[in-house]
Symmetry: C2
Subunit: 383 residues, 2 copies
């Protein structure tokens, strides 16, 4: 099945808001065999919206619309949808009761515009909104599916995940699409491609499996996609490809699911019952912040130092001022002393340190902007 995604809103057309809804919907539908062919964005303009509906419905099996379902005067999508499907709006008691319950829960009083949100096109199937007041809608005609959702991302996302994805799983002709992402770090995209070598010989050339390289500042993700009508075949094929990739690049792969680097580090530290401290200069707390973003990180992260000034390196980490003066605050020696000092003071098993020249100024020929030393110190007996 092919799909067009239509996003509605003036804020998108003037570039005030980056459109994240499109990518989310496309990625989700992709997993149930609904492939997005086109994405269109139009403003809060009746003629433009109507035209986009006509074009999309003529060309695609599935149309997903977001935006323009709010309670204010510029939210005109619902009226246009009703016209497009030549129906009228009727009060839906279930939706009204949901809205009343939400208002009570949030302790706000209902005004007429809230109540009007329970008006829905007569011929639609309502998609409940578990995070807000505007109901979603589905129209199903001649094996074509037309969905309308609010533009608020977390309301839309819940409808996709809780209603639309299960709906298509049931409808599916049996084609199964699965992705697996191997996250790598410590190697550039082209070097990784070189290590992996010929891709056709890994995925095969029958079109059932593909491999995509997705570079980002932390590393490159390897995304395996397999399509087949047989679930066992899909699982076997995806695992076989993962195995080959691991033979070729195992030491760069830190995760084979959605886990981030800091999640994996947390799991390892907890498993090994190790604790960690940080001593940061140029990163100004970012390393500690990433580590502590993981729920439960207080089990292994005990403390961190942001030793920005030279004096703070002396006071907090016991680094001799002489070493800083001789080697410079940005030096291998000071980075090592920072890690050693942080572990000593914190009494953790491991400490990591970072000192560098973040720029834009402060660089020299010998120590240019971008130079950065990262060191660690650990209690060897634990290993």
């Amino acid at each position: 099945m092919t799909c067009e995604i239509i996003t509605i809103g003036d804020e998108l057309l003037i570039g005030q808001v980056i459109n994240t809804n499109q990518a989310f919907i496309a990625e989700q539908l992709n997993t149930v065999g609904v492939f997005t062919d086109r994405m269109t964005t139009v403003g809060d303009d009746a003629e433009q919206i109507k035209k986009s509906f006509v074009d999309a419905y003529a060309l695609h099996d599935v149309v997903c619309v977001t935006g323009g379902l709010g309670p204010t005067h510029d939210d005109i999508t619902k009226k246009i949808v009703a016209e497009f499907f030549q129906t009228d709006l009727i009060m839906n008691e279930q939706v009204l009761s949901d809205i009343k319950a939400l208002a009570q829960k949030r302790n706000i009083s209902l005004i007429q515009s809230n109540i009007d949100q329970a008006l829905v096109p007569r011929t639609c199937t309502v998609i409940p909104n578990t995070n807000g007041t505007a109901p979603g809608m589905m129209f199903e005609n001649d094996a074509k599916y037309f969905f309308v959702m609010p533009g608020v991302p977390f309301e839309m996302k819940a409808m996709i995940e809780e209603w639309i994805i299960p709906f298509f799983k049931n409808k599916s002709d049996g084609l199964i699409v699965r992705h697996r992402t191997l996250k790598t770090t410590g190697i550039g995209e082209s070097m990784l491609a070189h290590e992996i070598g010929d891709i056709d010989s890994i995925t095969g050339t029958d079109g059932k499996a593909t491999l995509a390289f997705l570079p980002n500042p932390i590393g490159t993700k390897l995304r395996i996609t397999v399509k087949d009508y047989n679930a066992e075949n899909v699982e076997r094929k995806i695992s076989a490809i993962e195995k080959v990739l691991r033979t070729k690049a195992e030491k760069y792969i830190y995760s084979s699911d959605e886990k981030e680097l800091e999640d994996v580090i947390g799991i390892l530290l907890r498993e090994k019952r190790l604790t960690v401290a940080t001593a940061e200069s140029c990163t100004g707390g970012l390393i500690a912040n990433r580590i502590t973003n993981v729920p439960g990180s207080s089990d292994y992260f005990l403390r961190g130092f942001i030793t920005y000034s030279n004096q703070s390196k002396v006071d907090e980490l016991g680094i001799p001022m002489q070493l800083i003066v001789q080697q410079g605050a940005v030096s291998k020696e000071v980075a090592e002393a920072m890690a050693r000092g942080a572990r000593g003071v914190s009494k953790t098993d491991i400490a990591i340190s970072c000192t560098g020249i973040a720029g834009p100024t402060g660089g020299s020929l010998e120590k240019p902007v971008g130079l950065c030393y990262i060191r660690w110190n650990y209690f060897e007996e634990n290993y």
Copy 2:
């Protein structure tokens, strides 16, 4: 002038990449009186690309296309553009020499696919690529403008800023569009709207001025937009609106340009010659990280503590363990002691502290997830 933005690429249609090019182009063109009416995204598919060109060129004065100009087999945009404008590709010596210069600078050897990037449609005007090898193109016919740019954001952005915006400034019929954004914090969107009151009486109703509320997690931006054919009128009107908004909400406004909260804090600290330290628990270094993201922040940020464990609060900040046991690590008293301790140890003029329950677990009825104490300590004689 109205515009359609067409972005090309399979990675957009499967949701692997969030489309940021659209918003950037729309925002930039908006400042020179080119208003985006529609945005379309299609895959690396010749038929789809052709259809999108035909539709967009028929309906809009300006068409901006990005993507599909790279050197690999799935980059087909240039060929389709040449067909669309019924012309052929010719070698452009200037582009070829730019590509050679870039290759030399980056110390890479040229292969045939790089040289082929210097082939451009005969009837186009070349837009130089200052950040890469694929040239941009402009076709100008009957007061219609068709632009083609690479999809790589920083290559596209340079073309927009250095070539296309100046081009339209010269072409302009004289309509001037200016925005000014007042950034607020410490007040919710609806309360801010209430304080500001009737908007028509501030902007007028002649359509020349508008005010938009743009909420985000830090606060709400007030974006003033004024259009006029007279530069003085624009300046006078935008300043008059700013003045009224300041009368109504001065204490919530921290910036009237692109400066972030941490930039403004840095300017104030430097002006007043004050230094600052941080002591963080639940935020895990995020406050220090934000402060130190500002270039030159080492002038006023001296050090930071991430006292995650109770023992670290005792060791680093001199907080009595008894206080932590009695009041809890998340309490007003401990937050105050953290700020006091951080300032004492760091010998800064100001220290700020933060302790809270970030969740998802660790909350109780008395101290629920989300509870957070922020305190500061300062040397009163400095004020």
